[in-house]
Amino acid sequence: MKRFVLILVALFAVPAFANEPEGHAEPSGPVDKKKETADFILHHVADDTVFEMEIPFPPYHLPAIHIADAFSFLKFERTPGACDGHAPAGFESFPSLGLFLNGCWDLRPTKAILMMWVACAVLFSLLFLGRKRDQNGVPRGVLAHLIEVLALFVRDEIAVPNLGKEEGKRYTPYLTSLFFFILAIDWLGLIPGMFAATGVVTVTAALAIITFILIQVAGIRSAGLGGYLKHLTGGVPAFLWPIMIPVEVIGLFTKPFALLVRLFANMLGGHMVVFFLLSLIFVWTIGAAAVALPLTVAIFCLEIFVGILQAYLFTLLTSLFIGQGVAMGHHAHGDDHAH
């Protein structure tokens, strides 16, 4: 929660920094360190079409990978000039979504996708290296043991307790994949120069949408469409339905929404804190390093833990929500459901 507040502060700090130079700074004047730092941090943690191996502060820029240029054929303009305009009214918070609906189908991969692919490549190679087993099916080597411990942890501590033995077995591959996918992205993002794709709201939203669909499918499959719709009435008398149904429908969306915000905010916040602490050295004096460096190391270690914790939480809550969907069919109809 603290971290979330920090992000908000950071977000609101942008205009504060942004407004300053307009007042007094000339182009030839001294560099506004605060503004530059904030810009750098925000630039680093935000998704972009260009991937740069960043070395702090210009002019030391390494050559960047221009992902968008390489995939320029994936940008479709349904109506000419749709991509040039600003976001349509009502979509100020989601400019890309507004443009998309207006006919600008921009399907080019970004930095987040590139990092996701790198994370997947790392994940695949680690799983490949850790595939060895002896003839009894016992893993051989530290890596194989580690993978099995994590996978069995997901199965025995996440899937089975929330979904039951039968359904748990069905969803275990999905949950394990989700766990390892998020974990790989989280941890890859911690390597300096890399970028955490889970710190981008779109990525977590995409994962949360899949979870949302799974929850509904599980509910409909176990309770039937009728039972599923009946569940939306919350089991109250008919005259209360106008109140109850909107509440229940909102409830459907809040669960995955909480998932996506939690993961995104934690990853984004952690990375920003690391950068803020390091920036103190440049914004104040070099002496700030005495405080900033140990703190950064501490936060970094915390981030390693947060990475696996958030992967665990996302997986756990996904399985919990799917479990609620599965449980719909097991309740007697008209039961009161605790939400």
């Binding site: 994936l74 100020e92 918070s93 979504l97 189908w105 997947c120 981008v200 709201v201 990525v203």
Partner: protein, 176 residues
């Protein structure tokens, strides 16, 4: 004001293209991992778990069986011991009986032998007495002949001889 600016920055920007790419990536990862990672891993683990359960089950079963066998063996041993004891007792009884039989038979045989011997002794004695009587008579006749030959006319001697013979007969008669 702040909200508007928050709105225009890139953190809340949900990019449809990125969503689609995330889905594609995640679904490919899901399929690949399911096929090549979790499938083999989970089946290996399940196989192992099954093996372990089976091993425990069979160990339990074998233990129960062993205990049953042990019980059976114990009863069998007890029965055998009982049987052996019975056999010994029976043998002893048989021996006793046999010995008694043997003894009684021997005794009977000895008795009959004794009887036979007594009878034979008696017969022999009777025969001997009879022979002796015959001999005595012959002797007395011979004596009488001698006496008669020598002193026939001696009436006194004749009366004596007669007397002697009579006494001899009297003396022998009660013993016969």
């Amino acid at each position: 004001m702040n909200l508007l600016i928050l709105a225009s920055n890139s953190f809340t920007d949900v990019k449809p293209g990125l969503i689609i790419w995330t889905w594609i990536t995640f679904i490919i990862v899901l399929i690949i991992l399911r096929r090549f990672a979790w499938g083999p891993l989970l089946s290996a683990v399940e196989g192992r778990e099954k093996n372990i359960t089976n091993a425990i089950e069979s160990a339990k079963r074998e233990r129960a069986e062993a205990e049953k066998l042990l019980g059976e063996q114990k009863t069998a041993i007890a029965a055998a011991r009982q049987e052996a004891a019975d056999a010994v007792r029976k043998t002893q009884a048989d021996m006793e009986k046999f010995r008694e039989e043997l003894m009684s038979k021997a005794r009977k045989e000895a008795d009959s032998l004794k009887l036979d011997a007594q009878r034979a002794i008696n017969d022999e004695r009777v025969k001997a007495i009879a022979e002796l009587k015959g001999e005595a008579a012959k002797l007395s006749i011979a004596i009488a002949e001698k006496l008669l030959n020598e002193r026939l006319d001696d009436a006194k001697h004749q009366a004596l001889a007669q007397q002697f013979v009579q006494d001899l007969g009297k003396k022998q008669t009660p013993q016969a």
